[in-house]
C-alpha cells in the first residue's frame, strides 16, 4: 500500500504544465478515448472505477454524472469546485499549479459525457498562482482544438471552459453557495433536496449542473485513460483508487502524498518523516471539520472512508494535520471555532449564533475565566447546531469540538480548574495576540 502516484505520476516532470510535455506523457489520451465511446459508456467507466467525490463528502461520482438529463432541452453546466478552503488541505492547489491539464482534460471529459454547454472552474481568490496555470492550460487547450467548436473534429461537440475567481469565503466551497457565488450573489447556500430539485436537474441558472472537486476531475482523466477497472484494483471494498493527502503540522516532511485508499494512517505518518518537536499527541486526518484522534487511537485506522468513520473521524478532504505534545487541544479548538465563526455566512441561526457562542466559551476558558458546566454547555450548543443548520458548515463547526471533548476532556477540565494550559507556558497555539478577532481579523 502506501504511496501510489496515479494523478501525481508526472508531477515532477519538468514542464508538465505545458501542453506539449503533457501530451508527450500520455496527456489528452483519456479524452481521445472518451470521445470514441458512447456518452453512457464514459459514465459507466466512471461507475466501474468506484470513484467517489474528493471534495470531502465522498459521494459516488458516477451517480452525479448519470443524473444529468440525457437531453439538452436546457444548457448543461459543468462546474469545478476549486475553492479549496478547508484548513489543512492544499492538494487542489498543487494539482492546479503543477498538473493543470489533468483538470482541464477531466472537465472536457465530463463535458462530453454530461452534454455540457460550458464549464466553469471556480477558484478561490487567493489562489492566483494556481489560477494562472489553469488559465494557461485552457488557452493552450483551445489552440489545440480540445476546447471550442467541434472539438477533436466531432461535429456538434462544442464546449467552452472559463475561470471564475472567488473573493475570500470558505462557505463558497459548499456547492450550493458556490452556485450562488458563480451567479454573482453573496455566497449563501440554497435550498436542497428534498425541498428543492437536485443541482443535476436545476443548478445554476435553473439548468442542469454538475459540481465536482478538482481531484475528482483529475481522477476521471486517469480513469478514462487507463480504464475504470484498473482504478478499482486499488483501494478497499468501498473506497477505490487513491487519495491525495495534504500533510502539515509538526511533521518532518510536509507535502502532498498520493496514497492508495486503505493505507494505514501510521504508515503515512512514517512516510512523511514522523512527528517533529516532541512526542506525537494527535492527528486530524481530514481537515479542520473532522474529529481529532489522540495518538494512542491511531493504530488500526486506515485512510479510507469506512475505516475513518468507524473510528470516530472522517477522511474528509484529506487535510492531515499532525500535532506534537506541545499542542494545547483547547487552544487549538478555540482557534478552530474562531475559523467557523468568521466563515459562517450568517444565513441560519444555529450556525451564525452557535459558532459565536462556541468561540466565546472557548475564549473564556482559555483566558482563565472558565466556569463549571462550560463543557456541558459546549456540548449542548454543538448538539443544537449539528443537523439543525442550513448547510454543512454548521455541522463542521460542531464536530471537531465534540470530538476534542471526547478525546481530551481532561484538558478542558484542567483549563477550567487551574486557569492555565495543561501543556505549560509554551503551549501552541499560543494564547491570542488579538483582543477582539471579530473586529480585527480583516479590516473592512
Amino acid at each position: 500500500m502506501a504511496i501510489r502516484n496515479l494523478l501525481f505520476e508526472h508531477r515532477l516532470v519538468p514542464g508538465i504544465e505545458e501542453i506539449d510535455v503533457y501530451e508527450k506523457h500520455g496527456g489528452y489520451e483519456g479524452l481521445r478515448k472518451a470521445v470514441t465511446l458512447e456518452r453512457q459508456a464514459v459514465i459507466d467507466e466512471v461507475k466501474t472505477s468506484g470513484l467517489r467525490g474528493r471534495g470531502g463528502a465522498g459521494f459516488p461520482t458516477w451517480i452525479k454524472w448519470n443524473g444529468l438529463p440525457k437531453n439538452t432541452d436546457k444548457p448543461h453546466y459543468i462546474i469545478c469546485n476549486a475553492d479549496e478552503g478547508e484548513p489543512g488541505t492544499y492538494k487542489d492547489r498543487e494539482l492546479m499549479l503543477k498538473l493543470p491539464h489533468l483538470l482541464v482534460e477531466g472537465m472536457i471529459i465530463a463535458g462530453y459525457a454530461g452534454l455540457g454547454t460550458a464549464g466553469y472552474i471556480y477558484i478561490r481568490g487567493e489562489y492566483v498562482e494556481p489560477a494562472w496555470q489553469v488559465r494557461k492550460a485552457i488557452d493552450q487547450a483551445y489552440k489545440k482544438g480540445y476546447l471550442g467548436k467541434n472539438i477533436l473534429g466531432i461535429e456538434g461537440f462544442n464546449y467552452d471552459l472559463y475561470v471564475h475567481m472567488g473573493a475570500g469565503s470558505y462557505e463558497c466551497g459548499e456547492e450550493s453557495a458556490l452556485m450562488s457565488s458563480l451567479m454573482g450573489e453573496r455566497g449563501n447556500p440554497r435550498l436542497k433536496a428534498p425541498h428543492a430539485p437536485l443541482p443535476v436537474h436545476e443548478g445554476v441558472w435553473k439548468s442542469p449542473t454538475l459540481v465536482n472537486n478538482v481531484e475528482t476531475y483529475c481522477a476521471a482523466t486517469w480513469i478514462l485513460k487507463n480504464g475504470g477497472a484498473e482504478y478499482a484494483k486499488l483501494g478497499t471494498e468501498r473506497s477505490k483508487g487513491t487519495k491525495i493527502i495534504s500533510v502539515s503540522g509538526h511533521i518532518a516532511k510536509p507535502a502532498n502524498y498520493e496514497i492508495e485508499m486503505g493505507t494505514p494512517l501510521l504508515e503515512l505518518l512514517e512516510a512523511a518523516g514522523g512527528v517533529t518537536g516532541g512526542k506525537l499527541k494527535a492527528v486530524i486526518p481530514g481537515g479542520s471539520s473532522v474529529q481529532i484522534v489522540p495518538a494512542d487511537k491511531l493504530a488500526g485506522i486506515n485512510l479510507d472512508y469506512e475505516s475513518c468513520s468507524a473510528n470516530g473521524t472522517l477522511l474528509g478532504s484529506g487535510g492531515f494535520m499532525v500535532f506534537n505534545d506541545t499542542t494545547d487541544i483547547v487552544l487549538l479548538m478555540k482557534r478552530t471555532s474562531e475559523f467557523y465563526m468568521h466563515e459562517s455566512c450568517g444565513k441560519c441561526t444555529p450556525c451564525r449564533e452557535g459558532t459565536r457562542w462556541l468561540f466565546k466559551i472557548l475564549d473564556r476558558i482559555t483566558s482563565g475565566s472558565g466556569r463549571e458546566g462550560d463543557i456541558e454547555m459546549l456540548l449542548d450548543i454543538c448538539s443544537q447546531i449539528d443537523g439543525r443548520s442550513y448547510c454543512g458548515l454548521g455541522d463542521a463547526a460542531a464536530w471537531p469540538i465534540v470530538g476534542a471533548i471526547k478525546a481530551f476532556r481532561e484538558e478542558f477540565e484542567y483549563w477550567i480548574a487551574h486557569k492555565r494550559s495543561p501543556v505549560g507556558d509554551h503551549a501552541v497555539p499560543p494564547t491570542p495576540v488579538v483582543v477582539n478577532p471579530l473586529l480585527t481579523l480583516t479590516p473592512a
Binding site: 492544499y90 466553469y120 494562472w132 488557452d139 441558472w205 487549538l332 479590516p443 473592512a444
Partner: protein, 218 residues
C-alpha cells in the same frame, strides 16, 4: 435638549457621487467576461475585481455604484456582494496588505510569533496601517498552503515558511518593490478571467514560484 437629538437618524446616507473610472480596456474586459455567462449579473464578482483595480485597490461607494450601473443592478445588491467577501476592500489598504495566516497549522507552527514580530517591526497592531501608508497588517484564515506554514499573502503572492527572523527580510524586499499591491492583486485576478491572457504574461510571482508548488519541501 430637543436640538441635540437627531430627528431623522433613519435617513439613508446620500447616494454616492457617480464616477466613471473604468478605462476603455476595463470596459472591454468586463464585456468579454460578461459574455461567459448566460446572465449579466454573474459578472458581479469579476466586475468588483475590475473596480478594485480601477479604484486603486479598494471599493469606495462610487466604485460599487459604477459596477451597479455597468451591470444594471441596484447599488444595494452590489454592496451586499462586496461586503460578503473578505478580499474586497471597503477601506483603503496600505500599499502592501500583509495577510498572515494564523489558522490551525500556521498557528501551531509559530504564526503568532510572526504576527508579533511584524507588529513590533512596523509599529502597528493587527487591523492597522502604518503612518506612511506602506503596510496594513491582517490575520487571515487558512490560505490553504499549510504544508509551507507560516504562510503570508501579499498582493497576488504567497510568502511561505516564514519565521520571525526571515519575515523581516520579506518586509525589506517589499519596501523596495512596486509589486504586490492590492490593485496588482485585482489586476492579476482579472487577467486570469480573460481568455488568451496567458500569452501576455502577468502576476508578480516568478516562474520559480509557479514551478515549486510545495515550497522548499519537494
Amino acid at each position: 435638549m430637543a436640538e441635540s437629538v437627531t430627528s431623522n437618524i433613519r435617513e439613508p446616507q446620500p447616494a454616492p457621487v457617480k464616477e466613471s473610472r473604468f478605462s476603455e480596456l476595463a470596459i472591454a474586459e468586463l464585456e468579454e467576461i460578461a459574455s461567459h455567462y448566460p446572465e449579466r449579473k454573474a459578472a458581479c464578482l469579476p466586475a468588483l475585481w475590475i473596480a478594485q483595480r480601477e479604484y486603486e485597490g479598494y471599493l469606495p461607494p462610487a466604485a460599487i455604484q459604477e459596477v451597479a450601473d455597468r451591470l444594471g443592478l441596484s447599488y444595494s445588491e452590489v454592496e451586499g456582494v462586496a461586503t460578503f467577501y473578505t478580499m474586497y476592500n471597503l477601506r483603503k489598504r496600505g500599499r502592501h496588505h500583509l495577510e498572515v495566516c494564523t489558522c490551525l497549522t500556521c498557528a501551531v507552527k509559530g504564526a503568532y510569533e510572526v504576527v508579533h514580530k511584524l507588529e513590533k517591526e512596523l509599529g502597528v497592531h493587527v487591523g492597522q496601517t502604518t503612518a506612511d501608508g506602506e503596510f496594513t497588517l491582517s490575520e487571515a484564515e487558512c490560505l490553504d498552503f499549510c504544508g509551507a506554514a507560516t504562510v503570508m499573502q501579499v498582493g497576488d503572492k504567497y510568502f511561505t515558511q516564514l519565521t520571525p527572523e526571515n519575515v523581516v527580510k520579506v518586509i525589506d524586499e517589499l519596501r523596495n518593490s512596486p509589486d504586490y499591491t492590492p490593485a496588482k492583486l485585482a489586476d492579476s485576478i482579472v487577467k486570469v478571467l480573460v481568455p488568451g491572457a496567458s500569452e501576455q504574461g502577468g502576476g508578480s510571482f516568478s516562474a520559480e514560484d509557479l514551478k515549486n508548488p510545495a515550497g522548499a519541501m519537494l
